[in-house]
Symmetry: C3
Subunit: 324 residues, 3 copies
C-alpha cells in the first residue's frame, strides 16, 4: 500500500511537470492557421526544442502562422513561419519596405541611409551587418522589419517574397507577386545567415569596384513567377544588364555605391542601382537621387517600367526575407 502511494506520488509529480507537454502534443493535430492555441505559452515549452521554424516544423505538425521562439541568447520574439513552401520550415527574419520612393535616403530608409547620401557615412545605417532590430512581423508589409533571427538563426538557404504593401499576413503567400528560394545551402559557406554574409561582404560605399568585387550570386527556384516575369519587373534598360534566376549579394555600381541584394537577378554590368535594393550610405551619381532602400527604381519616373524604371508592382511591394 505504501508503495502504491509512493508510486502515485512520483507518477503524479511526473505528470505535473510534463502536463503541458502532453497537452501540447494532444492539441497539435487540431492546430489551424490563425488558431491561437499554440502561442506564447507553448513557445516557452518549445524553446527547449526549437529555435526557428525549421525545428518547429520537424517536431510538430504546424501551419503558417505567428509563433514565439527564443534566440540563442534567450531573447523571446515573435515571427512568422512559412510551413508550406518547398517542404516548409522557413522563418521570416526581415522585410525591406519602401515607405517613400520620393524620399532619397530619408526617414524609413533603414536598409540604406536615413540621413541623406553622405560619403562620411559609408556604411549608412549599417543594418545589414548589425544586431539592431525594428518593426513587427504583423506589420512587415507596412514598415521595415528585422528580428533577432536575422543574426541569430543558423540557416542554409533563403526564401524571398515580394508582397504588395499593407497586405494582411493571412494573404501574404497568395498575394505575392514573386516568390523564390535557394536550394544549394549556400549560407553554409558564409557563416550561416545574412548577418555573417554581410560581415564578409560589407555594404559600404567605395569598398570595391563594379562586378570585380561583387559578392555571391546564387541560383534560385521560383515558387510564384518565373524568369520572364521576374525580368520584366525591372525596366527595359535594366533587363539588358541582368540575368534572372539568381539572388545576388553586395554589388557595386559604376560610382562605387554598394547595394545589398538584387532580388531574383544577377547583374552583368554596372548600373545596378535601378534593380538592386538596400545599400551603404552614399550613392554619388546625381546624389541623392539614387539613395534609398529601393535605390533608383524611379529613375525614369515612378512605377513607369520604362527606361531604367522598375514596375509599379515591384516598387509597391515589401521584400520579405526568410531563412531555413
Amino acid at each position: 500500500m505504501f508503495l502504491a502511494i509512493l508510486f502515485s506520488l512520483s507518477l503524479n509529480l511526473w505528470l505535473c511537470e510534463a502536463g503541458s507537454v502532453i497537452i501540447l502534443d494532444q492539441e497539435v493535430p487540431y492546430v489551424k492557421t490563425g488558431d491561437t492555441k499554440v502561442k506564447l505559452e507553448d513557445a516557452m515549452l518549445q524553446r527547449r526544442v526549437a529555435r526557428n521554424c525549421k525545428e518547429l516544423h520537424e517536431k510538430y505538425q504546424v501551419y503558417d502562422d505567428l509563433y514565439y521562439l527564443n534566440s540563442s541568447r534567450g531573447v523571446l520574439y515573435q515571427m512568422f513561419c512559412d510551413m508550406t513552401t518547398a517542404g516548409g520550415g522557413w522563418t521570416l527574419v526581415a522585410s525591406v519596405h519602401e515607405n517613400n520612393m520620393y524620399g532619397k535616403c530619408t526617414l524609413g530608409d533603414r536598409w540604406s541611409n536615413q540621413q541623406g547620401s553622405d560619403p562620411n557615412r559609408p556604411d549608412g545605417e549599417g543594418t545589414w551587418a548589425d544586431t539592431v532590430t525594428f518593426g513587427t512581423a504583423e506589420s512587415s508589409t507596412s514598415d521595415d522589419y528585422k528580428n533577432p533571427g536575422y543574426y541569430d538563426i543558423a540557416a542554409q538557404d533563403v526564401s524571398v517574397w515580394h508582397v504588395p504593401n499593407n497586405i494582411d499576413l493571412e494573404q501574404w503567400s497568395a498575394s505575392s507577386i514573386l516568390r523564390y528560394h535557394t536550394e544549394n545551402h549556400f549560407l553554409n559557406l558564409y557563416g550561416g545567415n545574412l548577418f555573417y554574409l554581410f560581415k564578409k561582404f560589407p555594404v559600404r560605399f567605395a569598398l570595391g569596384a563594379c562586378l570585380t568585387d561583387n559578392g555571391p550570386a546564387i541560383p534560385i527556384v521560383y515558387d510564384t513567377g518565373n524568369v520572364d516575369y521576374n525580368k520584366n519587373l525591372y525596366g527595359p534598360n535594366s533587363r539588358q544588364i541582368l540575368t534572372p534566376g539568381f539572388i545576388a549579394f553586395r554589388v557595386f555600381n559604376t560610382e562605387g555605391a554598394a547595394m545589398a541584394l538584387c532580388s531574383g537577378v544577377k547583374p552583368t554590368a554596372c548600373h545596378t542601382e535601378h534593380f538592386c535594393i538596400g545599400g551603404g550610405g552614399h550613392f554619388p551619381e546625381a546624389t541623392p537621387r539614387q539613395c534609398g532602400d529601393f535605390t533608383s527604381f524611379d529613375w525614369d519616373g515612378y512605377g513607369t517600367n520604362k527606361g531604367w524604371s522598375a514596375s509599379k508592382e515591384i516598387t509597391e511591394a515589401a521584400v520579405l526575407l526568410f531563412y531555413r
Copy 2:
C-alpha cells in the same frame, strides 16, 4: 484501494493543470491598482478568456492598471485598462502626442507625416489605417503610442482623454483636462474599430471636399469638462465654426487637406486645421505651416488661445484613445 489511488491520480492531475486558475481566482479580490500580482503570468491564463479590457472587466474584479492581453493573432502586448469610467472596460489603444509644435511634419509626427508636407505622399505615414505599432502604454503621454488593439479589438465605442504631457499613468485620469466617451455603439457601423473606420474614410490629401465628404460626427458624453470648456480650448475664431459635444472623423479643409479627428467638436465650416488633429501627408496652405500631428494649433502663436490658436493646455496634452 486501487480505485482510490486512481482517483487520487486523476484528481491530482486535474489540480495540477487547474492550479494556477484556482490561485488566480483566489487572488483577484485582493488586487489593487499598481498591484503586480495579476500580470504577465496571469495574462497567459486570461488570454483564453479575454482579448480586451472589457472582457477582463466582466470576468474579474480588476482596477485601472497595465495588463497583458493577447491579440487575435496571438500577439502579446501590454496596455492600460480604464476600469472606472462609465462602467469601465476601456482599452487604451493609442495616443497622439505632439513632440514639437514648431516642427511642421517632422520626426515624431507619426499620425500625419514625418517627411514634410508633400503632395507625392498623400497618405503621409498612413498610421490611421495600417498595422504599424509604436511606443509603450507607460510613456503614452511622452510619445506617440499605438498597440495591436488599435486594429485588432472589436469595439463599439471610443473614449478620449486629454492628459498633460509627461504625466505618470497613476495620475492620468485625475490630471486630464478633458475626458469624454461615445455611447451609441457607432463603431458597429464602421467595422468595429478606428482602423476599419479609416479604411472606409481614408485620411488622404485631395480625396474629397470640405464638409461634403467628411466622415461621421458622433455625439459624446463628458466625463471631465463640458461643452463650454471644450469649446474654449480652441481659438475664438475656431469657436465660430465648430459645435462641441461630438467627435468628428476624417474631415477636409478648404485646400483638401485631410484630418483624422476633431476632438470633442464637429466642424461647421472649412478651417478645420486649427482644431482637428492627425492628418494625411499634405497641407497646402502656407505649406508646411499647417502640417503635423496637432496641425495648425499655433497659427496665431503657440498656446495663445487668440485668433485661430488653441490654448496652451490642449497644445501640451497627449490625446489618449480608448475602445470598448
Copy 3:
C-alpha cells in the same frame, strides 16, 4: 489509508505548484554565461523576488547575461546584468550611442535633439527625464538604448562602460576602453536613479549658468583604465579644464547649453561641449556644430585628439549606463 491518500493529494498539489521553483534552485549552480536555462520562464518566478540585477545576484548564484525582470508596474523587460564588477549586481539601463558624428542633432541623437539645434525646444528630446524607452540590450553598442529600469529601479550607484561600437555582448566587459563606478551611494540623495536626478537638474538650454548651476560631481573608482588614461581620451585643450576621477551631471557651457553627463571627469571651466555628452535642445555656439549626443567631440576634426577634439577611441564607443 484515507489519510494517506489525502496526504498524497495535498503533497502532490504542493509539489505541483512549487515544482518550478525547486527545479530552478537545483539548476542554478549549473548556470553559465550564455546558458539559456534561466530565462523568461524563470524570470516569471523571479519577478516575485527580484526587480533588478542586484536582487537577482543576492538570491541566486548567476553570471553576466541577459535576464528578464519586471518593473514595479509589471512591465516585463530584458536587460543585461553585470554580476562581476565590484561585487556584481549591476543592471544595464541605458546606452548613449553616437550613430553619426557628422550629423548635428539629427536622427539617432535621442539623448539630445533629433530635430536640429533649436531654442524653441530647450529640452530637446527630453529623454533624460521621461519614460520613453528604445533599443534592445543586445544591440546597445549599435544603437541608443533605454529600458524601464532607467526610471523604475531604486538604485544607489552608477557604473559606466565605454564599449567600442558593434561589439557583441559576450565581449563587452573585456573590450571596454574605460569602465568605472561610484561607491558613495549618491543616488540616495537624488531620488534613487538618473530619471529623478534629471528631474531635479533638468537638461534644458538656458536654465542656468556655467559652473554655478552645474549638478553634482561624484568620485569614481576605475575598473578599466585610470585617471591619466581617462583624461587623455579628451583633447589637449579639454584636459586643461577638467579633473578626472569623477562623473559630473547636468553641466552648462558658456552659452547656456546644457549637457547631461561628463564621463569620468569634472569640468573646471565652461567649454564642456568637447567632453560632456547628451544634452538639451540647443547649442548656440556655431550652431548646430556642437549639437548631438556626443556634442562637439569633433570640433578640431573627427577623432584627431588634437585641440578640442576627443580621441577616435572614445568617439567610436557607446556609453553603457548601469545601476546598483
